[in-house]
Amino acid sequence: MRSADYVIKRGFFALVTVFVAITINFFLFRVLPGNAVTNLSRVPKASPQLRHALIVEFGLDKPKWQQYLIYLRELFHGNMGISFANQQPVSHLLIADLKNTIPMVTVGTVAAIVVGVATGVLSAWRRGTVPDHLSTNGAIFFYAFPTQWLGLVLLIIFAGYLPAAGMSDPFLFGAEPFWPHLIDIGKHMILPAATLMLTAYGSYTLVVRSSMLETLGEDYVLTARAKGLPDRRIVRRHAFRNALLPMVTLVALDLGYIVGGALLIEVIFSWPGIGLAMYDAIGQRDYPMLQGGFLILTLAVIILNFAADLIYFRLDPRISQ
């Protein structure tokens, strides 16, 4: 009963957040000065007639609430508008981009979690030693470096050895066998995913370290030690599992930050994902694309946050008390 309550509560929260994001997206254009027409009609000799025709075409002459309802209705039908830049439906373009973004971000995030947990556990286990200082200080520094700077530095170092731009080699394109193509994409993914890993792992290290230190001080660890269990077993079976709990929340919290970082990384490495699409949209003043990108990324973060809530609840039922 309680768990059902919890799920419903979090689900409701996620739904309302989606609604808030959609509303922000809509009102941004109406609150800030200027609108799509201001920019489009910036051509020399734009007549008032042209301006008026554009306003009518975009439906901007209708009252705000009516525009809002139309916007909501179209959104529920999957219509996110037409890109100004190439006259394609935004939803089609962005879904194609999303398919490229997801693998890169997943690989980078998983790598960050693995490296963060490994260094964090090592730090806590060997507290106060040289490895501890190295990994803690390293974590703080990588955490502070701007994402785009890390990407550029990796680019300088590895430019000759690893593919530096795009997602696949254009010369391999076509009816190639499956494996060479996959390996090619994998090679292109190394630098972007590594950048994402380096920007994200630092906070995981620090959290796992302090969480491990805390669990190592718990009574049940003392009991395990009193039973004469070997050190390795205590760390692995008793402390480690409980120390991992905060990671679930932290990863969920980090998603917004990771999405922002991924956006910068895609720009640097020309990875054809949503981030690059949004960057191009900035340059081309392609507002429907920009808003669509914001909406899809926000939806992704909200859904994953909800998933993390549910996972956390399963892992630690104490939360409902």
Binding site: V20, G34, T147, L152, I156, L253, T298, V301
Partner: protein, 319 residues
């Protein structure tokens, strides 16, 4: 006689010793090396930015050497794509980066501190309403939203400051709220209220001074975030194109083929100074926060991420 009057929470915070508020920062600086290092870094860069126009070796608007000239005796950090001395650019670019960082943080602190105090002091529907807004904003990816707002609004320094300020107050509001809720329940506040003090007076005279140090710790941490976000927005071309900041230095280097020219000196130093300022803010803010709030030493809350949200009990007494 004194025992029943003593508030245990107050005893924890000051380490059991009576101390004045200005004494608090002195204690932190004396006892925590990290705080000293952090504060020195911040002070160094602030002083550098103040004197930068007078001591920077070259002008940042005139070509003084060859395009992408490597570091040399005359130009310690080499030159950028326009033949402008990198060292001078870094020194003067820091001015605007820091101004954006401080100004955006000021906006964020006013909103975050205000929301936190109102929400923590007046529980009930004000609290519920404000915290809901905070929760929604916490989930929405901030950099992505900033990009949309900054682009629609137009690229300018002022817009960058406001956009960062209005989106980075959420974690501050949460932390301040938790602190206010505990201060509100202290005996002396209750007595003041019993003597007939108004809400305004209690907030200004008793709540604000108590949450002041925590607000300062948060301010310092938010400065780091604001500087980071400024560089990200500048990198995406959303900063005023006529100014030089640490962010636009990176953007220029990326846009104008510094990498294919092998001009690492146009990229590496800028990232190092940004990281130095961020680490400085992080060390100082973290040390003050640790000293103030023993609960933050608990595992899950010890690291201040860009955001902070309660781990357990998202209800009333969550941090």
């Amino acid at each position: 006689m004194t025992l029943p009057l003593q508030d245990p929470q107050l005893a924890v915070e000051t380490g059991g010793q009576p101390s004045t508020r200005s004494g608090f920062f002195r204690t932190v600086l004396r006892e925590r090396k990290a705080a000293v290092v952090g504060l020195s870094i911040i002070v160094f860069f602030v002083l550098l930015s103040i004197v930068a126009p007078y001591i920077s070796p070259y002008s940042i608007t005139q070509q003084t050497c060859a395009v992408f000239a490597p570091p040399s005796g005359a130009h310690w950090l080499g030159c950028d794509d326009g033949g402008i001395d990198m060292l001078s650019e870094l020194m003067q670019g820091g001015r605007i980066s820091l101004v954006v960082g401080f100004a955006a943080t000021l906006v964020a602190m006013i909103i975050g501190g205000g929301v936190g105090i109102l929400s923590g002091y007046f529980s009930g529907w004000i609290d519920i309403g404000l915290m809901r807004i905070t929760d929604y904003l916490l989930v929405i990816p901030d950099l992505v939203l900033m990009i949309v707002i900054a682009d629609v609004w137009g690229a300018s320094l002022f817009h960058v400051i406001i956009v960062i300020g209005i989106l980075e107050w959420t974690s501050t509001a949460r932390i301040i709220r938790a602190q206010v809720m505990s201060v509100r329940e202290r005996v002396y506040v209750k007595r003041t209220r019993a003597m007939g003090a108004s809400n305004t007076r209690i907030i200004w005279k008793h709540i604000l001074p108590q949450v002041g140090p925590l607000l300062i710790a948060n301010t310092v941490l938010t400065i780091a975030i604001a500087i980071y976000l400024e560089t990200a927005l500048a990198f995406l071309g959303l900063e005023d194109p006529t100014v030089t900041t640490w962010g636009t230095i990176l953007e220029n280097a990326f846009q104008r083929t510094a990498i294919s020219s092998g001009a690492w000196w146009a990229i590496v130093p800028a990232g190092l100074v940004i990281a130095a300022v961020i680490v400085g803010c992080f060390l100082f803010g973290q040390a003050v926060e640790d000293a103030l709030n023993p609960r933050l030493k608990a595992a899950n809350l010890s690291v201040r991420r860009w955001r902070l949200r309660p781990l357990v009990g998202r209800g009333r007494d969550a941090i």
